[in-house]
Subunit: 333 residues, 2 copies
């Protein structure tokens, strides 16, 4: 559990995309972000107040979150100066970088000396149980994708926000580093040891009120041979009541796998639903989330109408249209 | 890679079943087992020569393998004495126990001082890559089960032995601790970090001669919600050409999951085959392996005939009948 609110560290981000973790926090948990910290040459801007470390502490910030990708796989000297000073000024640090903060000897030493925490959200900090498959109270929704990186996290966050706006009970359950940094907690599923994957997801989505929805962040794809085991464990550990099919319609092949064509939404439905019903016989596919970023507005609307007709399910791009109709489908379940 | 041959440590095994790891080595790699080491009160007997450590070293043994389960989750003082002496006499140690040898300070100290190796086969010792999904030369066979512990490892070992007896090229590829101890190498798949599971299986089953078969040890079941992610990664990393369906016909429910009924062989085929074809479009289900240990000879033969007729595939119990007909099916592919 990472202490909030945050000061978002953008470093010397070469462009806005490099700061997409920080952008996610700003978009989805604005209350968690008191300001941004930018170094000379930073090309990203979240539209938050620029603050010094001291100003951010005075504004209540408890954790400095590395919200930007590093370059060349190293934490630079310039970054280090800021991170060390932040620890000395009373911040915890949180990061989803592959380079772990804890493995940087100078940071680890200062953290020990100052009693501050270093949160490397790629590394599990809990001993998860083996899944027991026992049915849980409350309801759970999971987006499953035809591929990786098709908008599953965005879909879950948008549905969670919409459910809350309707006054309904909902929790976004993070399963990846960006999601964990956004909410301050979760399970870094891709870093969990194989035997404990499904158990980690059960742990993440415990018994809850009957009218409460967990919006579980999806990972990978049953059709992506590199990561399908993670997706499988997510489906069987999460035991979702509702599945959302997620897709990106212009991708020529599976991400990182040039030899693998993209499956159809029908193929995804026909594999994911029987798999989900092993863990939860009541599971239903309730809607479709299409990432239409590569299409014009007209193309997008026309494509969504085609998909909706073909599949007989509400099909939306939650970024263009909001997640309202997907939440209607949950409420109708 | 564990150095062979072995002296098999049976400790104070309370019964034959407790020594099933040693039994597996003795059954499947008799050339690896020069003798057995039994302590006072040992109730297991592999029919191998009883040897002292010194006698076994003289007979060429290089590694003392803990071939027995420990009691109460601790490595007892009596065991320790033998293990320490073995290191001093020049043995490496190998174990699949949950208690790691390396975590026992006295053993670790003696191993350092004597330059001997401690092999804890539950712990991965390789940094596996992320799976790339690129097709590989050679052929691969994988047994997939309706449940855990239905005889998948036995099936793969029996098929490997039969292929070799026919003069064909075959390798048993171990994915669990017993299999690794039997062959001296493999991947402890259930202990691999999620993102690298499929890559570990690709690493285990690399390009090979076109007429070479890898007999991959199966794990878990697509229908077992605790471990299905491991099975999924095994299918997509292994990219098998041939699937064997494995089943135990008298089990009332899934192992360890009282609320979960056993799937039918048809359900297993209908899920496993499309999943396998994502990674290898030529995948076929070629045969069925039934564990009939709980049936009489007559019941077993009658059950196998029924299954064979129902499924239209050769159905055998490799323990009762050998794996000949399953290997015929591979050769016919």
């Amino acid at each position: 559990m990472i202490e909030t609110p945050y000061l978002l560290f953008l470093g010397d981000a070469p462009d806005q995309l490099a700061a997409k973790v920080a952008q996610g926090i700003r978009d989805w948990r604005p209350d968690n972000a008191v300001g941004q910290f930018r170094m000379e040459g930073c090309k990203a801007d979240l539209g938050l107040p620029d603050m010094t470390l001291t100003e951010a502490r005075a504004a209540g910030a408890k954790t400095l979150v590395v919200g930007v990708a590093n370059r060349g796989g190293v934490i630079s000297k310039d970054w280090k100066k800021v991170l060390v000073t932040a620890l000395e000024e009373g911040f915890d640090l949180a990061s989803g970088l592959h380079n772990l903060l804890r493995n940087e000897e100078d940071l680890a030493a200062v953290a020990r000396a100052t009693g501050r925490a270093l949160h490397d959200v790629r590394v599990p900090e809990v001993e998860y149980p083996i899944a027991n498959g026992v049915p849980r109270s409350g309801k759970r929704c999971l987006a499953v994708g035809t591929d990786c990186s098709v908008g599953k996290m965005y879909t879950a966050l948008a549905m969670d926000a919409e459910m809350k706006a309707r006054g309904l009970k909902s929790s976004f359950r993070a399963t990846g580093q960006t999601g964990i940094l956004i909410t301050g907690e979760g399970v870094p599923l891709d870093a969990v040891v194989a035997d404990f994957m499904a158990g980690a997801v059960e742990w993440l989505t415990p018994d809850n009120d009957d009218d409460h929805w967990d919006m579980i962040e999806g990972q990978g794809s049953l059709f992506h041979v590199s990561y399908s085991g993670v997706t499988m464990a997510l489906i069987h550990g999460g035991a979702p009541d509702a599945l959302i099919l997620s897709h990106e319609p212009t991708r020529p092949h599976m991400r990182g796998l040039p030899g693998y064509g993209m499956p159809s939404l029908e193929a995804l439905r026909d594999l994911a639903l029987p798999v989900a019903r092993i863990a939860n016989p009541k599971a239903e596919v309730v809607g479709i989330s299409i990432n239409t970023a590569a299409l014009s507005e007209d193309e997008a609307l026309s494509h969504l109408a085609d998909v909706e007709k073909r599949m007989g399910l509400p099909a939306v791009d939650p970024f263009r249209q909001g997640a309202g109709r997907l939440c209607d489908a949950l409420e109708a379940l």
